[in-house]
């Protein structure tokens, strides 16, 4: 299991349970995200708190999940990015595709 999930207010928070979000877990992450969307969750916070780095495979899985979410009228936001991960999102402009929050609870409370 890559994500530990819990409901907070109207959001589902999926906390990433691995420190290295890389190609060894990207397929599993994508499958878990697809299942969460299929269950009808409409606002999913992917919490990166504790993740030390993210590679391109994991980012690909995240973008794929976002496309699937949008096709199902759902939203994915991210939280808890460390400096390196935050810099990576900016580098390839994923900060334009995802709303980014400092913490999962802040992300959940900002649900529009």
């Amino acid at each position: 299991m890559i994500l530990l999930t819990n409901i907070y207010k109207d959001a589902l928070i999926g906390a990433i349970q691995v420190k290295e979000a890389n190609l060894t877990v990207s397929d599993g992450f994508k499958e878990e995200m697809t299942a969460l969307i299929d269950k009808g969750n409409k606002y999913i916070v992917v919490d990166f708190d504790g993740v030390i780095y993210v590679d391109s495979s994991f980012l690909g899985a995240l973008v794929s999940s976002l496309k699937y979410a949008i096709a199902n009228q759902a939203e994915i936001v991210v939280s808890g990015l460390n400096k390196d991960v935050s810099g990576l999102f900016q580098l390839i402009r994923l900060d334009k595709a995802f709303k980014i929050y400092s913490s999962a609870t802040e992300a959940a409370e900002r649900k529009s």
């Binding site: 780095y53 496309k67 334009k96 595709a97």
Partner: protein, 181 residues
Amino acid sequence: MPDINTKTFVFDNHADGLYPLVTDMIAYIHQHAQVSEATTQRLKVTMIELLTNALKHASQSATAIKVELTEDKVSIQKKDTGNGLAIFCHQNFMEWPLPGVHHTGKVITIYSNGDATLKANLKDNCTLQFFIEETENTDPVDINTLAEHFGLMIITRACNTFTYYFDVDTCSNNFIISISL
């Protein structure tokens, strides 16, 4: 004669060894040069993606990573004998060295991602240099135009130069990046 520090690291092509190796390479660079936090971030993402590329495509048990520092830049060279860089011409997969002779100056498209396109300038039938062509900047971004593979684009954005070279003598793939200090 300016100082040049060089060290070759060996990646065992196991994911567990990826981040410890990145940490070792960053520590080596910091031993020999003053590097800003922003440059360190660029170095890290470049190393992570070069090693991830090795995990995906290198067929042998180990990959050599050569780190070279001069007064004003860091160069990193990844060398392996796995699958060559996949490029396509009119949807045909191209083998290295590229066939024919009239390659110099030709620009090929690798893939598009949102408002940017990753392209490469062919230097000859064994060498290309990546660059990014920005297209119309849309805000918010059209999610459906985002690619789901980012590795080469991350490296191209993070470094100053990014070159692929196929060595015909050793049949090896060489990814060479440089980042200014």
